[in-house]
């Protein structure tokens, strides 16, 4: 674990020779200053402000220096790294281009990011294999096939510390190692999980759409490592653009000889097929996904046997998610140490988050593991719009939970998230403000799992349904305090007795909201009141006769004709007719309608 990282941009524009020398100079100066145990020099990753290169960034603080010369390095080490003082004269000037014209790379949204998995997204033309190759594409495959043994590939991935980006965070190298025995004697498969089902996560779609070749190349590397000759990408049919780009990329790779027989003149051959999902969330679970590739009902089955032993078509199989694979080629090219230098102690590298919900900057962000939630929400995300307060962030989708405002300074990595009752999941990060009701959110996720439970095992099929009924009781104003105990009891039972990950994690959103927002549950039960003003059965809409101008806008918008009043006179709401849809509030320009 290093205290600081100096990242010397070695993107194409920064000029490889000069930036290489700058990086070397940093290493020399850091050693001279006695900081070798504390500061790590990283090469690579375009910092995206090519106009001002060579660029150097110092993490974790994210200070950016531009136009760095060889002779500036000693000063940077002495001042910034040793004394912690920024060297102002070298600081990157946001406005250097002109006063107003700015590019994305210069915004706060972009500056704290470190793009590894997304390195090509939004940069190259995804329909051109040449542009992918121009950004070092297929060089990792070439290196692996011609200069590394399969075991060395497995060891490199293992040493990098890369963990699966799709959910549970199992070490990728270990998965490969388990499947690597008996090479050449048995049929094996490499599969890519592109069945991105967590609502709120879309990084896999973005990688497939924006950089499809990186997935193909990484799967070929994986196939070489374990001794497989066939691969399947299982992708959601709801992603037509991704399917189109991936199909095209596979054709291009085939005609360039990068898929097929004797790749790079070696005796390694690899063929890749696309399988379309058909809309079943459970197929994101590995055993269910493989059953679905086999053309059957995508139901999970118990493990062991693990897929590494007996997976697709009964053969040893590895399954990696899209973002995991997007990290493979840079690891092979730059080495395990390069990767493991980024991130936190047990979670290496970067993680892509799909930032959404009540936040100013929505989008995909890639940050080193261990970045705090505050940095993501406030600095990259630009905070909560409309002056509202941050209430919680939801991670891990229907398998995860909430991070409350009190824990906003927690460094985000696999283990920290688990310890506070949520999980990394695939990286959806939905921000919620004071207008979000946490009971309602728990209900939302549970409705999702009830809908998506495949029905094979009873704890999940029946248990989640009963759990949802208890929540509905609470949001309808019929809940009792005993219900909270029953929820906890039932949740624990579902977690420990369900067959697959879907059921085992389904109660998490309920447990997590109950853990951090118990008051809100109690408020619903005891006072029959929804503090966020969301739970419909508990709401009352009223019009303030003083503020109402009688403009009739609300009455016209009301689908239930529940608002009466003559023009220019205050209106009233007939609560018996009101369906509590909230349409009137949106239409009122005088802030006269309130909801309690």
């Amino acid at each position: 674990m290093y205290r600081s990282y100096v990242m010397v941009c070695s993107g194409q524009t920064c000029g490889n020779t000069l930036s290489d020398r700058i990086a070397e100079e940093f290493e020399v100066q850091i050693k001279l200053a006695g900081l070798r145990q504390e500061v790590q020099v990283l090469r690579g990753g375009c910092l995206g402000i090519c106009g001002s290169g060579p660029n150097v960034a110092v993490f974790p603080e994210g200070t950016l220096y531009s136009h760095v010369k060889l002779e500036d390095v000693a000063e940077l080490v002495a001042e910034h790294l040793l004394k912690g003082k920024k060297v102002n004269r070298l600081l990157y000037d946001e406005n250097e281009a002109t006063n107003t014209v700015r590019s994305l790379s210069e915004t706060a949204f972009y500056k704290k990011q470190m793009r590894v998995a997304l390195r090509n997204c939004g940069v190259i033309n995804p329909r051109s294999i040449e542009e992918y190759i121009a950004r070092d594409g297929y060089a990792a495959l070439e290196k692996a096939l011609t200069r590394m043994t399969p075991d060395e590939v497995v060891e490199t991935v293992l040493a990098s510390g890369l963990r699966g980006r799709g959910g549970a965070g199992f070490p990728t190298g270990l998965k490969w190692k388990f499947a690597s025995g008996n090479r050449g004697n048995v049929q094996k498969y490499v599969c890519c999980n592109a069945d991105e089902g967590d609502p709120g996560a879309f990084m896999d779609r973005s990688v497939l759409e924006g950089d499809p070749h990186t997935v193909i190349e990484a799967m070929a590397v994986a196939a070489y490592a374990i001794g497989a000759d066939t691969g399947y990408v299982y992708v959601r049919a709801e992603y037509p653009v991704a399917v189109k780009h991936l199909t095209l990329a596979i054709e291009q790779a085939k005609s360039a000889g990068l898929l097929g027989k004797n790749i790079f003149g070696t005796d390694f051959s690899f063929n890749l097929h696309i399988k379309l999902g058909a809309g079943a969330f459970v197929c994101g679970e590995e055993t269910a996904l493989m059953t679905s590739i086999e053309g059957k009902r995508g139901e999970p089955h118990p493990r062991p046997p693990f897929p590494a032993v007996k997976g697709l078509f009964e053969s040893p199989t590895i399954l990696n998610n899209v973002e995991t694979l997007a990290n493979i080629c840079p690891i092979i090219l730059n080495g395990a140490e390069w990767f493991s230098a980024m991130g936190s102690e047990k979670s290496k590298g970067t993680k892509v988050f799909a930032l959404g919900g009540k936040i100013k900057n929505t989008g995909l962000v890639e940050v080193p593991m261990g970045t705090t939630l505050r940095e993501i929400v406030e600095e990259i995300g630009g905070g909560i719009p409309n002056g509202k307060a941050f209430k919680a962030a939801q991670t891990g989708g229907p398998s995860g939970g909430c991070i409350p405002a009190s824990l906003i300074d927690i460094p985000i990595d696999y283990d920290n998230l688990l310890s506070i009752g949520t999980m990394m999941g695939s990286g959806g990060l939905i921000v919620m403000d004071e207008d979000t009701c946490m009971v309602d959110i728990a209900k939302f996720f549970l409705e999702f799992t009830v809908e998506e439970s495949c029905g094979k095992c009873t704890p999940c099929r029946v248990g989640t349904k009963r759990l949802l009924e208890l929540l509905n009781k609470i949001t309808d104003g019929r809940g009792t305090m005993e219900d909270l105990d029953r929820i906890e009891e039932l949740a624990a039972f579902i977690k420990s007795n369900s067959l697959c990950g879907l059921g085992q994690t389904a109660p998490n959103p309920v447990l997590s909201t109950l853990r951090y927002f118990r008051d809100e549950y109690v408020e619903h039960i005891v006072h029959r009141h929804c503090p966020a003003g969301v739970c419909r059965e508990l709401l009352q809409y009223t019009i303030d006769p003083v503020k109402c101008h009688g403009c009739t806008a609300c009455a016209r918008a009301c689908p239930a004709h529940a608002i009466v009043g003559s023009p220019k006179n205050p209106h009233t709401i007939d609560t018996a007719k009101c369906i509590k849809c909230g349409g009137c509030i949106e239409k009122c320009r005088f802030d006269a309608i309130s909801r309690h």
Binding site: A97, T100, Y110, E130, A134, S206, E209, G210, L364
Partner: protein, 127 residues
């Protein structure tokens, strides 16, 4: 750009493709302006295909064949889609946000042809 027949068999082959393609990826080396439009699903949902078409038509009408117009993937800033990025040799990159077909025409005329970035359409004007 089409080179379907090229088989890639060695590091040398990769390097040849790289050397040939880098100028189009990096305008500083190629001397050609490069314009990319984010055409991932979010971009398309926000109308990026119409923007791409408008750029293409305007570039043709202005006979600016040297400008490389290309689709790209998700740039990552969903709420600003459609996003167009302009790279002109010797100038810093410009990111245009919430571009419409009408704005696209002005970007071609004022920035790519006239050399003056349209400040009010850039991401900076939106911050």
């Amino acid at each position: 750009m089409k080179s379907e027949k090229t088989k890639i068999k060695s590091l040398g082959d990769l390097q040849r493709v790289r050397t040939r393609t880098l100028p189009q990826l990096d305008p500083a080396e190629g001397g050609h302006p490069r314009v990319v439009v984010g055409l991932a699903t979010c971009g398309i949902a926000a109308g990026a295909q119409g923007v791409y078409d408008a750029l293409q038509t305007e570039l043709q009408q202005q006979k600016m064949q040297d400008v490389l117009l290309l689709p790209t993937g998700c740039i990552g800033i969903c709420q600003f889609e459609p996003v167009v990025e302009v790279f002109i040799p010797g100038q810093p990159k410009t990111t245009y946000v919430r571009v419409t077909p009408e704005k696209a025409v002005r970007i071609v005329d004022q920035h790519l042809k006239g050399g003056n970035p349209v400040a009010e359409f850039t991401i900076g004007a939106r911050q």
